[in-house]
Subunit: 428 residues, 2 copies
């Protein structure tokens, strides 16, 4: 069934433009407000949003064990809790319903009226209630660049980096969907040459090009997820912009890690692309030397060939692509991250989110942050309108996009687009 | 009304033993399973648990704006969302109902049968669904001790420490109530003198004596909580044992902070003692020099005189008190922590939890961790049974207790008691 759903030759009776991110081979999951202001779980084919709550009420998921209200919720958490077998059955069924050769819904105007929406009628919401959010630091190129700039070029990678998928806990409350603007944060900084710390708006606001995966319930307290099972607990992936204030970060982060420099906002794309949809795009990840501990060892292809781009759009201007990277550069795989996260017995629940860390490629035009692209502000990045950027300026919009392409199939993530608003006036 | 509720002379018609942690002046909030296996929100006076869901159904909260099911829930989050005015009205009303001079419930045997439980009939649950958990590092003595051991005794405090209430994000999923045992975690370590990292059970499992506060919805994205309003958003406090694996921590924590060394478990006491109950025990906090930035400046008494103790109980043995500390030693106040946490616009929600960080006093018998008490294992701590401890051993139970005492009133937190189980056998 999965092969049929992922079949490159499959066509749908819905309209899908060429190179749409959402052909019938994608079938992502999201949460949206319908034109009647009802919240529902849905999917998307081309520019048509599909109300899965309505489809389910009309009986289209008959035979799949689903509770009556599973799609009439404001988050995907319960559906994700149902597990991989159910996600796959639902995605396969959606693929059948919208197959060009299936006329059941296609010819039912009454049903189509309540099930289908055009994208401009709906409002996308955060797809999951994120219980815990963890951010990894798994791009060797990024860790090396940061180590070179901030520490010692001769010892850029810290000693633990090749042994541990280094990660840390982030803040769930400020994870926001694409389209929600972010304010330039206030905070303490200690500029070079200053005699004491200062307080005010961050002057070094940056994006971080990341992807994130969403998990299902994976274990109970004290148990761990074996590496060979880890992928079964991953529901899907989104684009992730981990907003960062470099000056706040530099002053606050010793010894316990980044805090206010990160937790003012992190933005995600609203459609979760399933691991089933990404299956055809598996690739090898970089060779790991030294060999990791057994609990992190895996055979086969466990990375994914996902092209990533970052664009900066100044207000009332066109966007300029400033970086092209790829998820496949990640040194540690998602399965390794999840196995590591639970090796001590830490509980992973449905709706938890894990970020990859900034995804930098090997060349200077593939770096995943302004910190690296402008090399700490020493190499301003040119924009199409003649301006340059060292970091993100007020009213700039940062747009992350991503897609897979193979055998004529293009599976995309849509975008995560976020405008940076000026800081609120500082009180006192 | 608050003065009447906190009046030291107030007596209740329920039985309360001398020096009980839960006189009628306390009235904490918690969640428990009743003898009928129904989950409810409740309070406690002496050794009697009180079902607030039942009390509400019987009309005892008439006149207070509460939804019908506000106490028939498995977490306090919605009640906490109702805000300070409502918490205070409910606590004051409970105080009236159980006042020795009020015979309404006292003389109603039918009502008493459904409202009152003895403590051994019920099972305490986690009182809130913790959305985000942050841990601070706000004891100057603790930060100095750790800096002295791990870095440089001459520069024990890092440069940011006196300017910032340093904190970091923790893991919500593994916060557990008193009584839930914890497994010794597996993980990577790099012992002194080793040539490469090793993998196995942590050998340096430690407690951290902390307290934590629970917040209500405090702000929206991009806004901050002014310091003078911060206390209004704090619902109450619990005892908090932030379990730590020192060897895992040492190897993993650069540059992004502690991760697996902490997130295998953190234990809390199940009754949340309200800030209203703690009001009579306000004291000054330590003088802050240098003066903090304006967004952190406050006048008046913003700490609390809470006596804290840690005991270690080996299996089938009596417990030994190994530390006596006090919450008043904290350099940064809870209001300062909350104001700092939101100064960048980070959202704080109902049910979020913020830990104080290890609370160490000025003397070596008041340190809040085995790391400090045994000074990295160089001074084994004697137990009453003739054994000693450098860190926590398998099947030891660690018990944190805390109380306030003034004008003949004793308000306590009960305990957080957690047994450390041996590591699971390592696979492969």
């Amino acid at each position: 069934m999965l092969e049929s759903t992922n079949n490159p030759n499959k066509k749908t009776w819905l309209n899908v433009t060429e190179n749409s991110d959402f052909p019938i081979q994608n079938i992502p999951f999201g949460v949206f407000l319908t034109r009647e202001d009802i919240i529902t779980i849905g999917t998307r084919i081309g520019d048509t949003a599909i109300d899965l709550g309505a489809l389910h009420q009309l009986g289209y998921f008959e035979g799949i064990p689903l509770t009556e209200d599973i799609f009439l919720q404001d988050t995907l958490n319960d559906f994700i809790s149902d597990g991989k077998k159910t996600w796959r059955a639902v995605r396969n069924r959606i693929s059948e319903i919208f197959d060009i050769e299936n006329s059941t819904l296609q010819s039912n105007e009454e049903h189509k009226k309540v099930v289908l929406f055009s994208m401009d009628e709906i409002e996308m919401k955060l797809p999951v209630q994120i219980g815990d959010y963890t951010d990894f630091y798994s791009s060797k190129e990024h860790a090396t660049n940061v180590g070179t700039m901030f520490r010692d070029p001769e010892n850029a990678l810290l000693p633990n980096w090749l042994h541990i998928p280094v990660g840390y806990h982030g803040r769930s409350s400020t994870i926001i969907p694409s389209g929600t603007p972010v304010r330039r944060p206030l905070g303490q900084q200690f500029p070079k040459g200053a005699e004491k710390p200062i307080f005010g708006p961050s002057r070094l606001v940056d994006f971080e090009l990341e992807m994130a995966f969403i998990t299902t319930d994976a274990n109970t307290l004290g148990e761990h997820v074996p590496i060979e099972e880890a992928e079964d607990y991953i529901f899907g992936m989104v684009l992730f912009n981990d907003w960062s204030a470099r000056d706040i970060q530099k002053w606050e982060y010793v010894p316990l890690g980044p805090f206010l420099a990160k937790n003012f906002a992190s933005s995600i794309s609203p459609w979760i692309v399933t691991m089933d949809a990404l299956e055809p795009f598996r690739v090898d990840s970089p060779k790991q030397e030294p060999k990791p501990f057994p609990y992190l060892q895996q055979m086969g292809k466990h990375s994914f060939d996902i092209h990533l781009e970052v664009a900066i759009q100044p207000e009332n201007n066109e966007a300029t692509t400033v970086s092209k990277s790829n998820f496949k550069y990640m040194y540690w795989t998602m399965a390794q991250q999840l196995a590591h996260h639970t090796i001590n017995g830490c509980i992973v629940n449905s709706g938890d989110m894990m970020g990859s860390g900034t995804i930098s490629g090997p060349t200077s035009d593939s770096y995943g942050s302004m910190l690296e692209l402008s090399w700490q502000g020493t190499k301003p990045v040119p924009l199409n309108n003649g301006e340059t950027r060292k970091f993100i300026q007020d009213n700039d919009t940062v747009i992350l996009t991503g897609y897979c392409q193979k055998n004529g199939v293009h599976i995309g993530f849509g975008e995560v687009s976020t405008k940076l608003l000026p800081a609120l006036l500082q009180e006192k």
